[in-house]
Symmetry: C2
DNA sequence: ATAACCATGTAAATGGTTACATGATTAG
DNA sequence: CTAATCATGTAACCATTTACATGGTTAT
């Protein structure tokens, strides 16, 4: 799913500027399952407009800098539908925080604690964020995914709070592989 | 976190070939929070070996094609530790399946059902996979992350089963925005 | 004033994915 | 005999990320 399709999806929720689309992926409705940066959004929007999939309206701005408000055309809607008419690719997750906690034995105690606290705080903030939203008037899919995000965030935050001791409880062994370094990894 | 660091992490779990490292990210211990393909692993391994961070042992193979078994050196261990001495980047998730369920109103009924069933089946398989593993003798971090993965997978699978009706229960409205297409997206 | 935020865009660099190319071994 | 799995590697392509460049607005 490329930046173009993602922008089409964002605009299916309502007209928006590139800046607003970015916010939808950063803290808005897509935040917990997709990401796009400016460097992908602006070029994607330019191409989409050229292809007639979106329209541009210049907003010379009162109370804010000049901006461009994009809106979906029928061609754009069709393109979005077509892009979703396939088997979804498997989820791709990249979590440095989990990688670090996985290798907790390699980290300084205080750094491990920082990583843990930072990560837990992210999930708690996410939970509060979702809870603060109003579910009235949104689509079924959106409501379903919102609930799913909340359920998974809560499960993770609960797990982290209840299992802190697994990471911090025991005495630290400052070695990678106390049982012998050159053991082959098992099947 | 680039492919080199990821390979270093994989080798911290025990000596392995490039092929085996791939499997660790596909179905092994890293499967639910990171991904790397062959096209990243083999070049990364070559560079790592050249930098003295890993050693190569040719295994001319009995019962399998020839392969190269890599092992971490002290330099490699230090490099892995150093790579983790920083604030972790925010998680990056890309889920086409969630994107599609979010826009359920755009999908044909049977396609939506396919996507839903496929996605639920992935999580159920993940749960069984984790449950089948033996927790004896693994590191604290690894055990902690394994439990966290299980908790979040179970929360998602449960949510999906209990809230199916939110996606399939109501009559389909085959329109993007029944309330008017050109409404601006809210703050 | 100054920092934070709103707003748009480009170019270079990085890095990952896909396709290609090859070949051995094992299970049905 | 055929498909699946084991095994390694390269090159072209594609996409994203980062840095750069610019400037208006709002709150402290």
């Amino acid at each position: 799913m490329d930046a173009k399709t993602l922008c089409l999806g964002a605009l299916a929720l309502g007209d928006a500027s590139g800046y607003e689309i970015k916010k939808m992926f950063e803290e808005g409705p897509f935040a917990h399952f997709h990401h796009v940066g400016f460097g992908s959004i602006y070029p994607a929007l330019a191409v989409l407009a050229q292809e007639g999939k979106i329209l541009v309206a210049e907003d010379a701005g009162e109370g804010h800098p000049a901006r461009k408000i994009y809106s979906l055309t029928q061609t754009g809607k069709d393109a979005l539908k077509k892009a979703m008419r396939k088997t979804p690719a498997p989820d791709k997750v990249r979590s440095e925080a989990i990688f670090m906690m996985f290798f907790s034995q390699f980290l300084e105690d205080d750094h491990l604690e920082d990583v843990f606290n930072y990560y837990l705080a992210c999930y708690k903030a996410g939970i509060e964020k979702i809870k603060s939203l109003d579910d009235e008037g949104i689509s079924d899919g959106r409501r379903f995914i919102r609930g799913m995000g909340l359920a998974s965030y809560q499960a993770i935050a609960n797990y982290m709070e209840e299992n802190r001791h697994l990471l911090f409880g025991t005495d630290k062994q400052n070695s990678i592989d106390p049982a012998g370094l050159s053991k082959r990894v098992g099947k």
